[in-house]
Symmetry: C2
Subunit: 187 residues, 2 copies
């Protein structure tokens, strides 16, 4: 935030990268600090130098995800409201999906209970609720809200559908895009 500082915590970034990978593959609870430190080629203790604990790592992971949703919210605020805003917003979200976000989604998917727990305390939950309320208005009926939410979640759904399948990332994103369009078709 305060511009230039010393280079310093490159290790931190590396830890986060590997943690995201392992937590996604084996789940948060299924990954021990041991596993993580071994994958990083350092000892557990060194890990504790960089992060207060396992919990701090997942929180840091979440924070970087949060930024993307904030960007979406800002974009929505700058748009003209209207019946096609939902599709435009959802497609914008889907089309801006990159490697990191895919990993984040796989992660979220692989860690349902953990995410729910963090949501309960922190403020994870509601990131998208906020977006949907701004698009549909505060009085939209639940079925519409659910359908809108599903239109945003198509990448996650396509990822799920592709599990165990020889599907490329491009296949997944294409399926997601098509689904978003289908789910936001006018009645």
């Amino acid at each position: 935030m305060t511009a230039t500082r010393r280079a310093g915590s490159e290790t931190r970034a590396e830890i986060l990268r590997v943690a995201l990978e392992l937590f996604t593959e084996r789940g948060f609870e299924g990954t021990s600090i041991r596993d993580l430190s071994e994958a990083l080629g350092m000892t557990k203790s060194s890990l504790y130098y960089h992060f207060e604990g396992k919990e701090a790592i997942i929180q840091a992971l979440l924070a970087s995800r949060r930024a993307e949703v904030d960007e979406l919210l800002e974009w929505i605020d700058g748009q003209e409201p209207g019946p096609e805003l939902l599709r435009r917003a959802a497609l914008r979200w889907v089309d801006s999906t990159g490697r990191e976000r895919i990993l984040g989604m796989r992660f979220a998917h692989a860690n349902g209970p953990t995410m729910a727990r963090l949501a309960a305390q922190g403020g994870t939950r509601g990131w998208f609720d906020e977006a949907i309320t701004r698009i549909l208005g505060p009085d939209a009926p639940m079925p519409s809200r659910l359908r809108a939410r599903m239109a945003f979640d198509t990448v996650s759904a396509a990822l799920f559908a592709a599990q165990g399948q020889p599907a490329s990332e491009a296949d997944v994103l294409a399926a997601a895009r098509a689904a978003t369009i289908a789910l936001t078709a006018p009645d």
Copy 2:
């Protein structure tokens, strides 16, 4: 299978019921044998009398899920192939969703890595692949396969979308049904 036996394992069923609940809420890895036995009002040791271990419990849970997919496969085999079979089959699946299956889906969703692990060894993975191959034929391109799979998975997706939302089960099923229809619309 061999018809009437002594009443016996009513406890087994009770264990499975509670296990499904806890594994779904807290995740498989996040639920200890302790937690489970306490929720059941018995000791860990008693649990071990009924099941060989934690792993055996989850396997039993999976087996009962398997039956429903088999039923779907059989139904598909009895149908006339054609371009609308996908929609009919997917709607049949969605419309036959009951309490138990919803729990099973929440469970699967809450336990991604565990499910993947079981899939790798046992034969979990591929239950739906089989159905989709029978419907679309063995040569269907990947994007079509993914989309078809997503059409079956709408309940799961709607459940995900409804997390943290004051949505009723009816809302969820309605959203799922609408999504299945949208996803199986003819080009």
